[in-house]
């Protein structure tokens, strides 16, 4: 058990280093380019050189990375090239927005897709066909299209919900709720479709196990067979699926935050990337990777907890 925990932790750390090295080198490998982006097109070669020294971009890439990595642990990720705002404080404002968006979506997704997936797999027939139909369509339409359509439908035609903008829950809970309703719906379409399809598959698989037949023959009620045994068997693959859905939602949140003008990490990363504000982009990337790793670790680990074979190791 402890060994499982430790290997998974070590693995997460390995992934963290690998991914941050790759993204950091992608962004910082062109030092003069980064410096020039902060100065504008009219900057001379000397201006760029001076700026590079100023920002520490003239140092070897590895040193810059180690410097940045040290900052991750001391809580100093540098400042924005443009506004001078500390990256950490920008993140502190924005991470809760993205998290509330994605966590709300995942929770609703779990409830609806488990109900739909189990019903489709268990009852079959028209329920199955309806669920599969909507799952296909839902999975096909990208979140940004759903978001655009929602803005079109609600904000432009019937302004029931605020089209854009974000209200902090501390200011007004109802304001917060209405401000994230449309974004959450935009994310839900795809994630419920994916979740329902995955749960349907997992439940069908569990239902076809030999022991399910034996349990029925032994006189267990359908309720007990499905709730106690089938769901338990399907919960492993289901957990992994929801972990992946949560990760996918972080990508979707990028679009949704931009469309609905929500001050989340996605919006920060995209706007900083187009502006060339590299420390901010790296900060956004860092927070997304950390969320991904935590989600992954939790999904993996709880899956191991559910599986007696893995637990014994």
């Amino acid at each position: 058990m402890l060994l499982t925990l430790l290997t998974r932790l070590a693995r997460s750390l390995g992934v963290f280093l690998l991914v941050t090295i790759v993204t950091f080198s992608l962004m910082y490998s062109n030092g003069p380019g980064v410096a020039r982006a902060t100065l504008g097109l009219s900057a001379t070669e000397e201006d760029v050189q001076r700026r590079m020294v100023e920002l520490g971009l003239d140092r070897p890439l590895l040193i810059q990375y180690l410097d940045w990595l040290g900052g991750v642990f001391t809580g100093n990720l540098g400042n924005s090239f443009f506004t001078g705002e500390a990256v950490t404080s920008a993140l502190a404002n924005r991470v809760p927005v993205t998290l509330s968006l994605t966590i709300a979506t995942v929770l609703i997704t779990i409830v609806i897709s488990v109900l739909a997936g189990v019903a489709a797999a268990y009852y079959g027939g028209w329920i199955d066909r309806v669920v599969q139909f909507f799952a296909s369509i839902g999975a096909a339409v990208p979140p940004f299209i759903v978001a655009v359509i929602l803005v079109f439908a609600f904000a432009v035609s019937t302004p029931l919900f605020p089209a854009t903008g974000y209200v902090r829950p501390a200011e007004s809970v109802t304001g917060w709720l209405t401000s994230i309703t449309l974004p959450v719906i935009a994310l839900l379409v795809g994630s419920i479709a994916g979740g329902a399809a995955q749960i349907r598959g997992a439940v069908l698989d569990a239902l076809s196990r030999d022991f399910v037949r034996t349990l029925r023959a032994r006189g267990l009620s359908e309720r007990a067979v499905v709730l106690r045994h089938v769901l338990r068997t399907a919960s492993g693959p289901g957990l992994i699926a929801f972990g992946l859905i949560m990760i996918g939602l972080l990508g979707g949140a990028l679009f949704v935050e931009l469309v609905f003008a929500l001050p989340g990490i996605g919006q920060l990363a995209v706007l900083s990337a187009t502006a060339g504000d590299v420390p901010m982009v790296m900060g956004g990337v860092l927070s997304i990777i950390v969320i991904v790793l935590v989600v992954n670790f939790l999904a993996d680990f709880s899956n191991a907890l559910l599986n007696p074979k893995a637990r014994a190791r």
């Binding site: 992608l26 338990r232 990508g251 590299v278």
Partner: protein
């Protein structure tokens, strides 16, 4: 060389065959498949002939057409916020989309398929490393890497799609690896190795052949993801604004959504439909390639009609001490368009109190179907076409309450495969106690005591410890004892044992048969023993029914039938069995 042995008696007649249709024909016969292929062909043609079809140059600005409404003069889909023609921009954008799809598919296949083949075929350390890489990539939100890339390259669709190809490659990798691993374990690959085929020829001839179907299906889904991500990147403003693309058009129309709301319809519709067409194409391919002719579900109205037509059969009691009577049982399975093929053709069967009755037959004779019918655990697609199963005056095929009350309580079930019939997520004790309490009302501690005693009785040493173990920690023989314990615990008077010793070694089989005999004697259990093994019948049963092709062809006492079978099939069966047995053993 003269190879020819005396095989005249062996010559087999083969059934006439239906020639399978080519894949493309089958795909086009599938309505959704035809529809999506058609739509995608139109889109591809529109992209290819964009210069001919476009009313004007996609970047030509006509200030008069700024935010023009659709169907206005010269601009069928209207103009965008800078007065450029939307239709022309979408047509030219199709080329970008197609290019993006090609890049994503080429890159992801190059990495994923090759990696999957290597990992699956050679296994070992290579596989571990590649799996780690694939897992790592899978856990990343791909867009984040694309944003990091933008910082390096600026707007560059080719680079972005190349990177996205790598990000999505694990999909191919996992798929191909899984197929290769399973194919590699197939004996035909071993046979190819034995004749000395090289690895390259084995991969080419046997393995690539097996993975091509899944790769084609996956390609449709990957192309859909490619369109989505390309449009998405452009929509975020990370694309090249000077090049018309679906995403750029969408972004532009979204920016002017309050001035010209209708404009977002065209790019949204185009992107969604293209992705939907690819997803549906993937589904259709899956249906055509993987479910070839196997699934012919009955419509629910036909199913209801068959249920209405199923006639019960009265329980003309043949013998006074019959505990279970099956009358005119016919069971069928869907085959072809809304038709049903019967696998049981009117089975009549009586089980007397305390008797051990063998139900013998070869594969496909329908013996397990009889057993499953009694317990109401036929597969979902099975249809009961007629007949009744009488227990205590209730017809188990129609009286669902009686069936529920009888299962576990009156009738116990011992399955064939011991390991797969225990739920791996629960301890032995947990499943046994829960199962017992589902059948009989009793307290937890009472149930626990009963299970412990019975575990000792079925020959499990250290039953206290075994109760706390999980199924994967015990052997097959032990698992079968646990299952027997589970069947017997609620004190039923009938046991249905479906090939209870087939999966066991012969020495373990002898012990389990001994156990079944003793339990039957001690508890006065009547037993239906489904088996293909006449030796098992001779060992355990008093009477026997021989099944062939869904019918009982002969029945009687074991002594009689084994001495002097009347039916030719029974005689053949007995002769074949005895040919491979050690009949005389000198001690």
């Amino acid at each position: 060389m003269s190879l020819r042995p005396t095989t005249t008696s062996l010559a087999t007649v083969l059934a006439p065959r239906a020639k399978p249709r080519p894949l493309l024909v089958r795909l086009l016969l599938n309505p959704l498949g035809a529809l999506s292929v058609g739509f995608l062909l139109i889109v591809a043609a529109a992209g290819a002939f964009a210069p001919l079809l476009s009313p004007v140059d996609p970047n030509f600005t006509d200030l008069a057409a700024t935010n023009a409404a659709p169907f206005s003069d010269g601009h069928p889909l209207g103009g965008d916020s800078s007065g450029r023609d939307v239709l022309s921009r979408l047509l030219y954008g199709t080329r970008e989309t197609m290019l993006a799809c090609v890049i994503v598919l080429a890159v992801s296949m190059a990495f994923g398929v090759v990696g999957g083949l290597i990992a699956g075929y050679y296994r070992g350390r290579v596989e571990t490393v590649l799996e780690f890489v694939a897992d790592t990539i899978m856990t990343l939100p791909g867009l984040v890497l694309l944003i990091a890339l933008y910082a390096l390259t600026g707007p560059n669709m080719v680079a972005a799609m190349f990177v996205f190809g790598i990000i999505i490659a694990p999909n191919f990798f996992r798929l191909v690896r899984a197929v290769v691993v399973s194919v590699r374990n197939e004996l035909y690959v071993d046979a190819a190795k034995v004749v000395g085929l090289s690895d390259l020829r084995i991969v080419g001839r046997h393995i690539l052949w097996a993975v091509r179907g899944p790769i084609v299906i996956q390609s449709a889904f990957v192309a859909a993801a490619g369109i989505s991500i390309q449009a998405g990147v452009d929509f975020l403003g990370l694309g090249d604004p000077s090049k018309p693309s679906w995403g750029v058009v969408l972004q532009d129309s979204f920016r002017s959504i309050f001035r010209n709301p209708v404009a977002i319809v065209w790019p949204s519709l185009l992107i969604s439909l293209a992705i939907l067409a690819l997803v549906l194409l993937g589904n259709a391919l899956r249906d055509v390639l993987q479910a070839a002719g196997s699934a012919h579900p009955l419509s629910s109205s036909r199913r209801r009609q068959l249920a209405r037509e199923a006639q019960p059969a009265p329980a003309d009691s043949r013998s006074s001490d019959s505990v279970l009577a099956i009358r005119n049982l016919r069971v069928g399975y869907p085959s072809g368009q809304n038709t049903v093929r019967a696998v049981l053709h009117g089975v009549d069967f009586d089980l007397r109190r305390g008797e051990i009755h063998g139900l013998v037959g070869e594969s496909g004779s329908g013996k397990s179907q009889v057993a499953f019918s009694i317990l109401g655990i036929l597969p979902k697609e099975a249809v009961v076409l007629s007949g009744s199963i009488w227990l205590d005056g209730a017809d188990l095929l129609r009286d669902k309450a009686a069936l529920r009350a009888a299962r576990g309580t009156r009738i116990g079930y011992i399955p064939q495969e011991p390991m797969s019939n225990l739920d791996p997520s629960f301890t032995i004790g947990d499943q046994l106690i829960y199962g017992l309490r589902a059948a009989r009302k009793m307290s937890k501690s009472e149930a626990r005591k009963r299970v412990l005693t019975l575990l000792d009785r079925v020959g499990i040493v250290d039953s206290q410890r075994v109760m706390k173990m999980y199924p994967h920690e015990i052997s097959g023989g032990m698992a079968q004892r646990v299952l027997i314990c589970g069947a017997v615990a609620p004190d039923p008077d009938i046991i249905i044992a479906d090939e209870p010793t087939t999966a066991l070694d012969v020495t373990v089989q002898a012990e389990v048969l001994e156990l079944l005999r003793e339990l039957s004697r001690e508890r006065g259990l009547a037993m239906i023993l489904v088996t293909h093994n006449l030796g098992v019948v001779a060992d355990l049963c008093e009477s026997v029914s021989v099944m062939q092709g869904g019918e009982i062809v002969e029945r009687g006492s074991v002594d009689e039938i084994f001495r002097e079978a009347k039916n030719p099939y029974t005689r053949d069966l007995l002769e074949s069995s005895r040919a491979v047995e050690l009949l005389e053993v000198e001690s």
